[in-house]
Symmetry: C2
Subunit: 309 residues, 2 copies
């Protein structure tokens, strides 16, 4: 998966970004493997399934955003690593639960059978539950920041982003919307919750790992994160309509098949692409005035919009 990604992106972004992204993804992979319970520890099947769900897959967009935001505030890598892994575990748990038969009923994820297919439904349910706990456990590790009040703020932000007013709520809105036609503002409302909340949390947590920022910088960063979150979804919808299952590593064409409202169904492919481009430009603009350390964040905006999978 990682190899294919790097090949594709090499054509559209700087080689230096490629190297940074590859190194960061590798670092995150090692950290995730270390934070996850060992596969031989009881209950072994659950721990094996947790590792299966999290390791060896995905673009790690949220961890990359966490590291890019941490670079802006000079955050120590060990801290950002933990925050990035906490966010990624929330994301991984949501994928496991979303793929279950009572939700999207999907059998392929990151090029592998989904957790409930490879193991069983009950195990998939528990994998998601336990990954969510593990995310908060990682972030509550005593002494992570040397500033327990900031650490509490991070925990609070991650919990809000994950819950009924964030990601889980977005999933509920998505369920209710299936089969309906949504306007672009309604789609935006859904995705601000479903994908946007956790992407904003990734940027916020990465930032919080370093030196304090003035309030207006936080506002700019949050605007960037909001745009990236939406652009990510617009591009996802375009790719679902255009790309093949082999390229995506997950079942393509599911949106239309499940009659889900998407940016493509609302706008058509060409206008959806144009919207993503617009958001990319706005995300770059939101970074203006945030100093010289925004390079990785800007490159990630390009990556999110220009990716082919």
């Amino acid at each position: 998966m990682l190899r294919r990604m790097n090949q594709t992106i090499r054509m559209t972004t700087e080689p230096d970004f490629q190297a940074w992204m590859g190194a960061t993804q590798a670092r995150v992979e090692v950290a995730l493997a270390r934070f996850l319970p060992l596969p031989e520890i009881a209950p072994a099947k659950l721990h094996q399934a947790m590792r299966y769900a999290v390791l060896d897959g995905g673009k790690r967009v949220r961890p990359l955003l966490c590291f890019a935001a941490g670079a802006l505030t000079g955050a120590p890598v060990e801290r950002v690593e933990r925050a990035a892994c906490a966010v990624e575990m929330i994301h991984a748990y949501s994928l496991v639960h979303d793929d279950m038969p009572c939700m999207d009923d999907d059998t392929l994820r990151r090029g592998k059978p989904t957790v409930h297919v490879e193991f069983d439904e009950a195990t998939a349910l528990l994998v998601g539950d336990a990954l969510q706990s593990l995310a908060f456990q990682l972030l509550a590790e005593p002494g992570l920041l040397g500033d327990p009040e900031r650490q509490l703020r991070m925990l609070h932000a991650l919990a809000l982003a994950s819950g009924s007013r964030g990601m889980a709520g977005g999933q509920a809105i998505d369920l209710a919307a299936t089969g309906n036609t949504l306007s672009v503002p309604e789609l935006e409302f859904m995705h601000i919750h479903k994908t946007g909340a956790l992407i904003r949390a990734a940027v916020q947590l990465g930032t919080e790992c370093g030196a304090p920022l003035p309030a207006e910088a936080h506002a700019g960063l949050d605007r960037y994160a909001k745009l990236i979150g939406l652009a990510f979804q617009v591009v996802d919808d375009v790719l679902d309509a255009e790309a093949s299952t082999a390229t995506l590593g997950k079942t393509a064409g599911k949106d239309q098949q499940q009659n889900k409202p998407t940016y493509v169904s609302a706008l058509g492919i060409a206008r959806a692409r144009a919207l993503a481009e617009e958001m990319r430009a706005e995300a770059h603009a939101a970074l203006a005035g945030l100093g010289t350390q925004t390079k990785r964040l800007a490159e990630l905006a390009d990556f999110v919009v220009l990716r082919k999978f």
Copy 2:
């Protein structure tokens, strides 16, 4: 439910305990209703289902333990209330997920249809997910304790108790055990995770809300909590075998029907009852030397073992 409980217990415990328990349960109910998102806030169906899952039901054993432990350390009621609600939300989420068709497939809980029956499976999945997030959100509230380091310890303890090495892990062990014969030590291992971890967290969190205790006091309290957790399960198994569905407010006789290993299948009813009595005596002994404020904890040990539902 509360009315029936008070009538039953009045025969076996002090009237003063009845009053305390009733007042604490009422206080917890009000607090839970306040902490849960309002039913009219979007996504409304999810928020209604979260409230349905949590409110108006249950003995609130974990909150009661939290308050009883808080009394030992002179903890302010507003703090304990939040900790108690966080623990209860983790418990409530676990019931919603355990009742789902891919787990225990149960249709009745606390005298009402289970969440996936009253709403649907996808909503039940999201209700559990969102309740878990909400538990951590409550406990991460900035300024809860005036001591952020202790607050982080509480968050860490709750996350550990909920995850794959605690409650979710116990559920996985339970799944793997169904259809097998377990020895009493194996049963104990399962229940120390499945029910015990969260009950110990309830006592620990309640304690942490007040004045610091010496290390040996923590050890005694933890021994008490471990015994209560196991006794709770032994009595649950006895009640499942003996009582009626109407009395329990959940389907009776499920253990035998699902061929689950229980203390009753391992020991028979009479020896299981004797074991619970032994644990009650040991729990009382574990409280010796912890001062004069252990009254509620001692009474709760009696309540857990002598309850009829």
